[in-house]
Amino acid sequence: DVKVTQSSRYLVKRTGEKVFLECVQDMDHENMFWYRQDPGLGLRLIYFSYDVKMKEKGDIPEGYSVSREKKERFSLILESASTNQTSMYLCASRRGQTTEAFFGQGTRLTVV
């Protein structure tokens, strides 16, 4: 059974804190992604990685960075959390271009 696991279901952080969201997949997928979901906006791509230590900006990378030191793990970093980063964060992995992407259960982040 394939699995993408995000480290936290719910997080509450203060404005200005550095926040780490962790994601691990057990499918040996090359491609991993971080999305955020907001009402009326769907899922928007923040960053993605197609190999270890490789990363590319998505559509909304401002205020975020990522790290991929091992194939199975992809971390999203909020350098200095702000209230407009309150959102549902979703990690996904995908093997190639013509297969489905598998998602983690999501992290509901609230920045106060």
Partner: protein, 113 residues
């Protein structure tokens, strides 16, 4: 600029009837399309997909139709069941893009008894 659009934010349908969800896209390079279902506080789960070389794909109660000339796809759910109440996202990807998916805004489906 959103490349994948779902113009209906919500849909209400009676149990047993057909649900039709629509999706439009602007990028003619998209060659693979997917539908996902999402419950609150959970990650999206894959439903069905279609390659651009096909115009129809069926899996049980779910059928996806692709009209490339109109840049339009639709998802049919027959018959609709109460457990189908969820948000449905349309997604698309193109070759040479490392598999990244572009998503629509989603359609909230409510199936009533």
């Amino acid at each position: 600029d959103q490349q994948v659009k779902q113009n209906s934010p919500s849909l209400s349908v009676q149990e047993g009837r057909i649900s039709i969800l629509n999706c439009d896209y602007t990028n003619s390079m998209f060659d693979y399309f997917l539908w996902y279902k999402k419950y609150p506080a959970e990650g999206p789960t894959f439903l069905i997909s279609i390659s651009s070389i096909k115009d129809k794909n069926e899996d049980g109660r779910f059928t996806v139709f692709l009209n490339k000339s109109a840049k339009h796809l639709s998802l049919h759910i027959v018959p609709s069941q109460p457990g189908d109440s969820a948000v449905y996202f349309c997604a698309a990807s193109e070759g040479d893009s490392w598999g990244k998916l572009q998503f629509g805004a989603g359609t909230q489906v409510v199936v009533t008894p």
